[in-house]
Each structure stands twice: as structure tokens, then as C-alpha cells.
Symmetry: C2
């Protein structure tokens, strides 16, 4: 199943319905990921005009005429170097035109206003309307996420089996090998800058891999993912090299229990704050609340971080089809830290686990 | 030489001087690449307040406290989850506060205005002030670009030597191998989505690699680059597999001559339109003007496309230290196309060529 076969028309209809409910005559979609979501277009310049009472219009420039014909065969095409301006001009007859106020810059809005000068069209910010739709994944999207998670699972399994995670190697070398392996397994790219953190570095939640060498008795924290058909996987595993000390086993078991509690709380209708609390309470009860310094998780899809956020500061409830991470951590500055993270899909039944690598403490 | 040792303080002073000339009291820098350029910070959330008459202030959130201390030791640090809002609040005393109107969204500006409500501070769009400074590279930046180009040169040389560019392989497989090789040679990532286009696909300027197989007698166009210390290289080479037909040799020689003319025109003070014309005239004179469908080149640095644009629609003149591409192409729809592209640095003498792979027609 490739991205080109996804149900883009259905997605545009959902946006059309939402726009109609807000009294809009059309919506100008400029965020490139939102354009991809609604059309399948993967080029670097494209925009979409969704009309509540008429045919849609997809715009790009001459570099992408052929690609647009292949990827967006079902929307009328407008080819213009000044893509957004030309689409806006095409909308100049409508009454209320929505625009993505979280995406359009201050300079960009001035350009839209110049195009509409003299027309009666009113510009109305719709903020994250498309992102709201994107939070709930359809089957094709879940399939892409599943394949992205499989690539990451397999890359880690192969590196572990080949002895690539051994004392003496640097974090940088391990990270590059993990990235290269994901590419050779079919990833378009890593989902984000791969985190490889060993020893005391594992206590830094977002450590950038450096020339620190892996050593016997140290934690090795790997946070990484693969992008497949534009969809991102996200997984963290923490291993120990050589021999695990008691304190390491204790911290690991604590995070493992917290992560299981977070996963168990993933249910349709659950408040995101309650899910964060279910996982966090386990760590707080063990006296390590101050060592869990970030939110529990986030949505994943065409972006590595998207709606819904799952944290004490979040808002809203889970719905079936949301793809989210659950990733508690305990970080002991100067010593080491553990994070365990899965990507899962919320369903009306048990959540579907997409990252299948074992979460038992692996001593390599 | 690592990015952390670059002269960030000197760059901030240049922005300070430019801001002073525009009557600004401070500039709020929110574009993350501009923040990196001015501070060395590589995290995913950071902003900078540059004051014309006082000390600067760097903001990030708690995830990056340690990293900020290492990467930005010379600027006062403000740690706040709402980074931009907190920096803006810190600026609330000043008279005229510049903001990057090409980067701040409509929603973002409203948030700034809310923070400044009740203060006498006036927000003034400075547009691409930092991008203007970034167009001229300093020695450390040229060094990073040189290393990025070396990685790309070496990756291609190794693949060619190993026989990886042979009939029967797919564009996708070649692209992934090129990407993986650049990573293993020290690239942080490819500079952009690698283009591998063979046969008729080579006539599509920005073809995405697919499952088309390489065949004897076909063109093979490779447009790719490596990112090193955040700096991007950009190179295109077009080869022929097996045996080159006369028409292929003719098109190749034409693009080669056009590219040489473009490189020869790279001089301090040259109008970007004149450089484009110098290269384009060669192709037009041969009757292929309509088959060269894009601009001649662009600046490269922390972004793969940055100032200056070199095209018939561009404006401005070259300055010493600008790093640019020269990349004419001739595309014969349905048959094949040739593009030859180098990355070079403009100097008061000859331009320095950074992409050193031979430009003679290679028949593999």
C-alpha cells in the first residue's frame, strides 16, 4: 500500500464539512504536511484550496507538473510560480476564506491581503483545523506507521545480533549505523536525530550522540525511529552492557512498571492528563517524581510530534485511531537514566502495539 | 573545527550593528537556523534576544539546559517552557523590538502582542535580516561546507568504484546506498531527498527515485549532498551506463560548456542575473533554451536553498564569501536530461570549487 492510494478525497470531504460548519466558503491549506495529508503530494511546494460549495484546486509550480499529475490526479491543477498567491486569486470571489494562521507568516498574510485587495473576501484564521483531523489515523495511515515501526524494530535487532552495540564503540558510530540500517531496510530517513546515550549521558533526556565510548556496566539508551511513506515511528529502549548493577535493575523495573501503567490507561475517552498521571504516579510513589522531567507522550504520524499531547499540561480525550507514544523516564543526573517508549494505536479494545522490540531488560 | 567554536559573538555584533542602523532597540530571533547561526545552539527549541544597547539573552526549555550551557556558554540563559513569550516579556521595556516577520506566524504575532500588552514596546518586522548576514560565509562556515562536499565526493567515488551503479539496480536502491554511504562517512544526514533519475526519468528535473532499473545506454543523473555540522553540500553529476550515444555526448558537452561559463561568471560584484545569462546563453545559442527550465543556482549553507538566488528573476550582486551552486541542465522530455552542478565559494580571485568530482562524461 503506497501513500498514493490513500483516501485523500475522504479527508478533503471531512475538512469541507468542518469548514462548512464554521461558515467558511473555502479553506486555503498552505502547510505542506497538511497538503500531503489531503492530496498525497510529496513535493516541496504545493497548496490546496478546498471549497465548501465547489471543486477543489491544487497548486504547485512547473517543477512538479508531472508529479502532481501522478500523485494528485483527482484535483484540478493550477501551475504557477507564485503558487499561494495564484490560489488565493482563484478564491477571490468567495465570502469567507479560511487560512492556516498557525502556518502563514506575518509577511505571508500581508501577501494574501494584497492579492485580495478590492475583493469582498474576508480572511479567517482556522488554526490547526487539518491537524485536528490528522490526529485520528485511518487504516492506510496505521499501516504506514506499522511498517515504519517494523523497520526500527528490525534495525535494532540486527545491530544487537551483529554485536554492533559493544564496549569501545562511540555513541556517534552506533547512531550512524542504526540510521544506515534503517535506510537499507527501506526507511526514507530516520524519524528524527537518533539519540544514543550511554553512561552518565543516559541521564540527559535528549542527549546528542558524541564520541563517548560504550563501556561495560553502563546504560545504553536508544531513542530512534524510521520514516516510511512519510509516517514516523518512535521507540526508546534502554539496555545494559556486560552486567547490570542492582540500582540499574531497580530503575529499569520502575520505568517498566510505569510504562505498562501508561499503556494500560490508553483507552477511548480517557483524558490525556489521566493517562500521564497513571504512568507518573508509579514513579512518584517510588520517590522519583522529580526525575521524570517531561510529558508522557505525544501523537505521531506525518510529524514526529503531533496531536494529541499526553502530559499533565495537555487537554482533551483519546479517540479510536489516535497513534501515540508512551515514554516515561527516570533520569539520575551524573549516573544514568532509563526511558522506555512504544508507539501504539488507540482502539475500542486493547491498544495496538506497533513497536514490538522486547521491553525486558536486555543485558548485552 | 566544530560548530561550537565558530565566531557566534561576531555574528551577533553584526546583527546588533544592523539593528542599530534601523533604529531598533532589540531584535527577537525566532527562526531556529538563525538562532543556531548566532549562538551555535542545535536543539529543537531556542530563541535569542539581541539588544543594541545591552547584553543578549538566549532562551530554551528545560530539556536543553545542559546543552545550552555547553553550546551557548557566552550568552545569558533563560529557561522557560514558553520560550518566545518569556524572551518577549524580558524585552518589554524596550522601545522598538524587531521580530522576524518571515518566520513568525499570524498566531505567533498575536501571542507576542498579548505579552507586550500595556507596554510601550512597538513590534517592527525585520524580515530576513539574519539571512542577509548568512549569505556571506566566514572561514569556519566554508570549512564546514568543504567537509560536507568532500563526504559527497567520496560517497559517489566509492559507489562507482564498487560497481554499485550498474544495470539492473533500481533508482531507489542506488539512492539509499548513496545516503547510507554519506552517513557512514560522517554526514549527519543527506542534504535533501537524494535524486536518482535514469533513462527518461533524467529529463524530469526533480525526479523522486522509484523502482525504475538502470539500463545500458541510459543517462544516470545523481543530485545529492551531505550535511556536516549543519552545512549542506549540493552536487549533480550525470553519467552514462555502458555506451554513450552521439546525442548524449552532444547534450552533455553543451551542459558542460554552459556550466563552465556559469562558473567563470562567478565574480565579486557580478549581478546574479548576468551569471544566469552567461550560462544560459550557451544553451540558448544551441537551440535548447526551452529545455533549461529552472534558475542557474542558489546559495547554500545552513539551508540547502538560501540567499542569493542566481536566476533571471533574481536581484543583487555577488560578494566575497558567498557559497553558491551553478547547475544548468538540458532536459529532453521522454528521452533524457543532463544537469551538472557544483558548489563553489565566491572569492576576490577565482571561485573556490568545493565539489571536486570530475565533470568529464563518465561512462560506467
Amino acid at each position: 500500500m503506497t501513500a498514493a492510494r490513500m483516501d485523500h478525497a475522504g479527508r478533503r470531504d471531512r475538512l469541507r464539512a468542518a469548514a462548512g460548519e464554521q461558515g467558511l466558503d473555502a479553506v486555503l491549506v498552505t502547510n505542506l504536511l497538511n497538503v500531503r495529508y489531503l492530496t498525497g503530494f510529496t513535493g516541496s511546494n504545493g497548496a490546496l484550496l478546498v471549497r465548501t460549495g465547489g471543486a477543489d484546486l491544487f497548486g504547485t509550480d512547473g517543477r512538479y507538473t508531472t508529479q502532481a499529475g501522478t500523485q494528485v490526479p483527482d484535483v484540478e491543477l493550477l501551475v504557477d510560480r507564485g503558487t499561494v498567491g495564484a490560489l488565493t486569486a482563484a478564491a477571490a470571489g468567495v465570502g469567507r476564506l479560511g487560512f492556516e494562521s498557525h502556518d502563514v507568516t506575518v509577511d505571508g498574510l500581508r501577501a494574501l491581503e494584497r492579492v485580495l485587495e478590492g475583493s469582498a473576501t474576508e480572511l479567517v484564521g482556522v488554526r490547526r483545523a487539518v491537524e485536528g483531523l490528522r490526529a485520528v489515523k485511518d487504516d492506510d495511515e496505521v499501516d504506514a506507521l506499522r511498517r515504519a515501526c517494523t523497520v526500527a524494530d528490525q534495525a535494532l535487532a540486527e545491530l544487537a545480533a551483529e554485536g554492533a552495540l559493544r564496549p569501545g564503540r562511540t555513541e556517534l558510530a552506533v547512531g550512524r549505523e542504526l540510521d544506515a540500517r534503517m535506510l537499507s531496510l527501506g526507511a526514507e530517513s530516520p524519524s528524527f536525530e537518533t539519540i544514543v546515550a550511554t553512561g552518565a549521558n543516559s541521564a540527559i533526556p535528549h542527549h546528542r550522540p558524541d564520541t563517548t565510548e560504550l563501556r561495560d556496566g553502563d546504560f545504553l539508551k536508544l531513542d530512534f525511529g524510521a520514516t516510511v511513506d512519510g509516517y514516523h515511528s518512535d521507540m526508546t529502549r534502554t539496555l545494559v552492557l556486560g552486567h547490570a548493577a542492582d540500582w540499574q535493575r531497580e530503575v529499569y523495573a520502575l520505568v517498566q512498571a510505569s510504562q505498562a501503567a501508561g499503556r494500560d490507561a490508553l483507552a477511548v475517552g480517557a483524558e490525556v492528563t489521566a493517562i500521564d498521571a497513571a504512568s507518573r504516579d508509579v514513579i512518584v510513589a517510588a520517590g522519583h517524581g522529580e526525575h521524570f522531567t517531561h510529558g508522557l507522550g505525544h501523537g505521531v504520524g506525518l510529524e514526529i510530534h503531533e496531536a494529541p499531547g499526553i502530559s499533565a499540561l495537555g487537554a482533551g480525550r483519546l479517540a479510536a485511531g489516535m497513534a501515540v507514544t508512551v515514554e516515561p523516564g527516570v533520569y539520575l543526573p551524573g549516573h544514568g537514566g532509563v526511558r522506555i517508549e512504544d508507539t501504539l494505536v488507540v482502539t475500542t479494545d486493547e491498544p495496538e502495539l506497533l513497536t514490538l522490540t522486547s521491553k525486558e531488560l536486555l543485558v548485552l
